[in-house]
């Protein structure tokens, strides 16, 4: 249950991170500026447990570590699959694997939030 919640959280994070300014999160600049510790990069080897604090927020998605370092290949793949599904007109979900349906449902909610946010601007 906890792992599932963690997966959903990472999926939401990945979804909103793609709308953020990516330039500020390039590893090269981040590491050169010594920001990897401050941003609590999850890729740092042997990173000691530090008190948690928010390092990135966007439209309700919150990361206590560098968001880029937390995003999984699975989340990126689900977002791509979701975009493909939308592009194809959002086919019948009954033929899809349960895990994909769950992910798409989460992404639909997040997309709605994003659209609402843009409408408010």
């Amino acid at each position: 249950m906890r792992a599932e919640r963690g997966r959903t959280k990472k999926l939401i994070l990945a979804f909103h991170f793609q709308f953020a300014d990516q330039a500020g999160w390039k590893c090269e600049e981040c590491r050169r500026s010594g920001l990897e510790e401050k941003r609590r990069c999850a890729l740092r080897p042997g990173a000691e447990p530090e008190p948690s604090r928010v390092v990135w927020v966007r439209n309700g998605a919150v990361a206590e570590r560098c968001p880029k370092s937390l995003i999984t290949g699975e989340s990126l793949a689900l977002i791509e699959a979701y975009c493909a599904w939308k592009l194809n007109g959002g086919g019948d979900y009954r033929d899809m694997p349960v895990r994909e349906v769950e992910a798409f449902w989460v992404l639909e909610q997040e997309l709605r939030k994003e659209m609402e946010r843009r409408g408010d601007e």
Partner: protein
């Protein structure tokens, strides 16, 4: 026979695999998978975290990180080959018809590089990205 003014619909044919004649090993042909929405998703699933790790390691100053980045880049190449190579014809490796697995494990490196380049071109990677 179509009448005058009648529209004839031709059936579109699409091959999801492309056959390439090897330039480095004449007589060898290989089949590579063309990109599709589903195949792109599969590739992202397999490469997503590895590419992120490479970016992190390449940004480091420690020699160990550079080595680890090179190792991870080799792993990316292996995944690209496994993902994109459908089959090889006209080549035997150690007396057996070559497959993607035997090519990666024991095949001629020049051919592997040629196939890799063709797969990456199929993925739509730029020349600079292909070199990485």
């Amino acid at each position: 026979m179509a009448q005058e003014g009648e529209v004839v619909l031709k059936e579109m044919r699409y091959e999801s695999v492309r056959t390439v004649e090897s330039a480095v090993m004449p007589g060898v042909r290989f089949r590579i998978r063309k990109m599709s929405l589903e195949r792109r998703v599969e590739l992202t699933r397999r490469l997503g975290e590895l590419l992120k790790r490479i970016e992190y390691l390449e940004a480091g100053r420690e020699p160990g990180e550079r080595i680890a980045a090179a190792e991870a880049a080799s792993e990316v190449e292996r995944i690209h080959l496994e993902w994109g190579l459908e089959g090889i014809e006209g080549l035997e490796i150690d007396g057996k018809p070559a497959t993607a697995e035997t090519l990666i494990a024991a095949g001629p490196e020049a051919l592997s590089r040629e196939i890799l380049q063709a797969i990456r071109a199929e993925c739509g990677l730029s020349e600079a990205e292909r070199k990485n």
